[in-house]
């Protein structure tokens, strides 16, 4: 079977956000999407959701043409992540693309109130641990032992990061959020190195504020470009006039140094 013979299966977290909703709305005709959300449902057709015209409620609408498979779950629980992967595999039999787009974001100063501290664990859990957990479970449940098949189908993970993980924006109160995204970038590099063993590529995207400074379309397109391409261990920075690619893998220490780490 060639890679082009079937619709690709995408497991997408953060489906209720701007990026996730855009992805579901515009790419559900290309992908079978398992759309994971926590509270905010994406306004797209799903197995348990459909659009109607309030004045012509019985008439069919084109919006309902490519329903996603919506999964309500809390990524901060391992059992929930296992349920997500199992549900996706039960529904579609495979996972070709895993997009870790769920994010927790609380911007507050370190001094002055307790909002930042109260949110710190959740931000780190959602932005760093959850992508690790979900990717590892997907590998354990499906990708391991299928090295050749994974390569043939160009299977891959895209971790959605932020320019905040690369740059320090003063007085934005982004300390923990930025730290979590920086950690996610580093995790992506390590994941790329380790998942190569099972034939799964791992990359990241880091977009500036969307839709204010870059379009949501562009941020989403970066994900599909990575899915269609061959990059591994890279971070695509979506900012300015054109995307920039940062290699994460060269940061891997040379073999001779590792015994001293």
């Amino acid at each position: 079977m060639s890679a082009g013979d079937h619709r690709r299966v995408c497991l997408l977290t953060g489906a209720g956000g701007k990026l996730g909703t855009y992805f579901c709305r515009h790419f559900a005709d290309r992908y079978d999407v398992a759309a994971v959300y926590r509270y905010n449902r994406p306004a797209v057709a799903a197995q348990d959701q459909y659009a109607l015209d309030p004045l012509r409620a019985s008439e069919p609408l084109p919006d309902n043409g490519h329903p996603v498979f919506a999964i309500q779950a809390d990524l901060n629980y391992e059992s929930e992540c296992e349920r997500i992967v199992d549900a996706t595999l039960s529904r579609f039999d495979r996972i070709d693309l895993l997009v870790n787009a769920a994010a927790a974001s609380t911007w507050a100063p370190m001094l002055g109130n307790n909002r930042l501290l109260a949110s710190a664990s959740t931000q780190l859990e959602t932005n760093v641990i959850a992508p690790l957990r979900l990717s590892a479970i997907a590998a354990r449940r499906f990708w391991q032992g299928r090295d050749e098949e994974n390569r043939l189908h160009n299977r891959n993970v895209v971790n959605v990061s932020s320019v905040a993980g690369l740059r320090l924006y003063p007085r934005a109160g982004q300390s923990v959020y930025a730290a979590s995204k920086a950690a996610l970038n580093h995790l992506t590099g390590h994941m790329a190195e380790e998942f190569a063993a099972v034939g799964v590529r791992v990359n990241g995207t880091a977009a500036n504020s969307f839709p204010a400074l870059v379009s949501v379309e562009r941020a989403a397109r970066a994900i599909t470009d990575l899915d269609e391409g061959s990059l591994n261990g890279s971070l695509v920075v979506v900012d300015g006039d054109q995307d920039e690619v940062i290699e994460l893998r060269p940061f891997v220490a040379p073999a001779r140094d590792r015994t001293h780490a």
Partner: protein, 534 residues
């Protein structure tokens, strides 16, 4: 002669700065005056306006914008190094264009240009909740060139033209639209640059100036002396009998049939009402009549955790803005009451007599529309109310709304019957005139978000939807955030568990309405025990 040459200390260089980001007619001069009087919070003024630059450049003898800005930083900075500026959105664009030396400056570059001159800026977003009053005030000032009433002019000014004052509805509406655009510019700047501004309102400022001042001082990390007392402002309130007259005339011209809306419904139309007929939707006899008012024709039916309906951009901007202004007016007039036991909100019942901008919800067309999708067996009786959750209101607990409601039994009428406490107690069925009543049970709940702060979805105040009554309120299966002009609606069944979720940062406002069905039908479906009494 320089300050040093004259033996005076050198002018301070700003170590930190702040911007009062605002629109005209928000009381910004009052806030600037209060900040100046502390002696530690800079000397804020409209330094970035073209008019200010034009007036002072020849008087200071400065050449070029950098020289002008150097002078401004000296004037605007207090000895502790704090610089303040009051700035409108268009003035800010003028500033960044001058600093960048090019006619257009991308949003992404603006913050860096600001920080080149003013380090560590902090932002106060000063807004006015009542757009209609702001529009009237602006229209008056534009006509008369009288921008303030004070003993000492805070800045350069044009020759006053008090004789030019004349009611001009078109000018008021354009003024309102302009204010909205300028505020939106600030919103985009904050979003683009990840700024979390301190939000103050004109209404808050005029009712408690010292309280507002102290919030700004805290933002700046400063401390006022323990014995600090704010002297009375030199600015006198400009709103007067003419303002009230214009307000009444604007409302009267906005209401159906050219007369003012009913008793409680001061129908303040921020953007005016829809020009099409039926103008408010109240005359919509059928769902088809609502076509002129609906913005989005894509609503979503979702079955998780129970069947419910969601819609964004429900109504067109004119009707929405009118509702938002009407809501604010009623809230400002103190018409809401905290009379709902176990529910941490203030509420106001909307009746047929005071429906104002909300009359569309009491129309047969709206009832038919919602009933057709969620509960076709709904009867003619509806209950409509406005709810206000102050910041920090307590979360509720999951409940299903399968409650009874009593109405006057008016068999002869085919009209919609709107609950009215003055005629019949909704909860007990008592009537002052001993009229016959009928007991119904709620069939559909509709929550329509209106008059909430813009641009901050996800910061609390959502409606949580739950699979079980025992679910923790902060762990819903779905949550519908309070995004203006959106709604969530569902059939009231024994399983329609939902709750208000706390709003730690912003107030939360909505219209809530219920459709009803016969008690017999509810008993037939789910048994009499399912009805949750009051």
């Amino acid at each position: 002669m320089t300050a040093e040459a004259a033996g005076r200390p050198a002018p301070p260089v700003p170590a930190s700065s702040y911007l009062i980001c605002t629109t005209p007619r928000t009381g910004s001069y009052v806030l600037c005056e209060a900040l100046r009087r502390t002696g530690i919070a800079g000397n804020p003024n409209e330094y970035f306006s073209g008019g200010y630059q034009q007036y002072w450049t020849p008087r200071w003898g400065t050449r070029g914008y950098p020289a002008f800005l150097k002078r401004v930083t000296r004037i605007g900075t207090t000895p502790n190094g704090v610089f303040g500026v009051k700035v409108h959105a268009m003035q800010f664009e003028h500033f960044v264009r001058q600093v960048a030396g090019k006619p257009t400056v991308p949003m992404a570059e603006r913050r860096a240009l600001l920080e080149r001159w003013f380090p560590e800026p902090r932002y106060i977003w000063l807004r006015r909740e009542n757009r209609l009053r702001q529009g009237i005030s602006y229209a008056r000032a534009v006509q008369t060139k009288i921008w303030w009433d004070a003993d000492e002019a805070p800045g350069p000014y044009d020759t006053p033209r008090p004789e030019a004052l004349a009611f001009n509805r078109d000018l008021i509406e354009r003024s309102i639209a302009q204010m909205r655009q300028w505020d939106a510019k600030w919103g985009r700047y904050f979003e683009a640059h990840r700024v979390d501004p301190l939000v103050l309102s004109y209404e808050e400022l005029v009712s408690d100036t010292e309280g507002a001042l102290r919030r700004v001082i805290a933002l700046l990390g400063l401390e006022l002396p323990s014995d600090f007392q704010l002297p009375p402002s030199q600015f006198r309130r400009q709103s007067d009998a003419i303002t009230e007259k214009w307000l009444a005339r604007y409302e009267a011209e906005s209401s159906p049939n050219g007369s003012a809306a009913g008793a409680g419904g001061s129908a303040a139309g921020a953007g005016g009402r829809p020009a099409r007929s039926p103008r408010t939707g109240s005359e919509a006899r059928s769902a088809a009549d609502l076509g002129a008012f609906l913005a989005s024709r894509r609503w979503w039916v979702c079955t998780t955790p129970f069947r419910h309906l969601r819609a964004d951009r429900v109504f067109g901007p004119e009707l929405y803005e009118w509702m938002a202004a009407d809501f604010r007016d009623r809230l400002g007039q103190g018409l809401f009451a905290r009379d709902l036991p176990g529910y941490d909100a203030a509420a106001l019942t909307v009746t047929a007599a005071n429906a104002g901008a909300f009359s569309i919800f009491a129309s047969p067309g709206w009832r038919d529309l919602i009933a057709a999708i969620l509960a076709p067996d709904s009867t003619r009786e509806v209950n409509v109310s406005l709810h206000h959750h102050a910041v920090g209101s307590l979360s509720g607990a999951p409940h299903n709304d399968l409650n009874p409601g009593y109405f006057i039994d008016d068999d002869g009428s085919e009209d919609i019957i709107v609950a009215d406490q003055a005629v019949c107690s909704y909860r007990s069925g008592t009537t002052p005139e001993q009229r016959p009543v009928v007991e119904r049970v709620r069939s559909v709940a509709v929550i329509y978000y209106v008059a909430n702060p813009d641009g901050y979805p996800g910061w609390g105040g959502a409606t949580g939807l739950y699979a079980r009554v025992s679910d923790p309120v902060d762990r819903p299966m779905a949550a519908v955030p309070p995004i203006n002009n959106s709604l969530v609606a569902f059939e009231c069944t024994p399983f329609s568990f939902h709750s208000f979720m706390t709003n730690p940062r912003f107030e939360r406002n909505c219209m809530v309405m219920w459709l009803h069905r016969s008690k017999e039908e509810v008993v037939r479906r789910w048994g009499g025990h399912s009805i949750v009494g009051w």
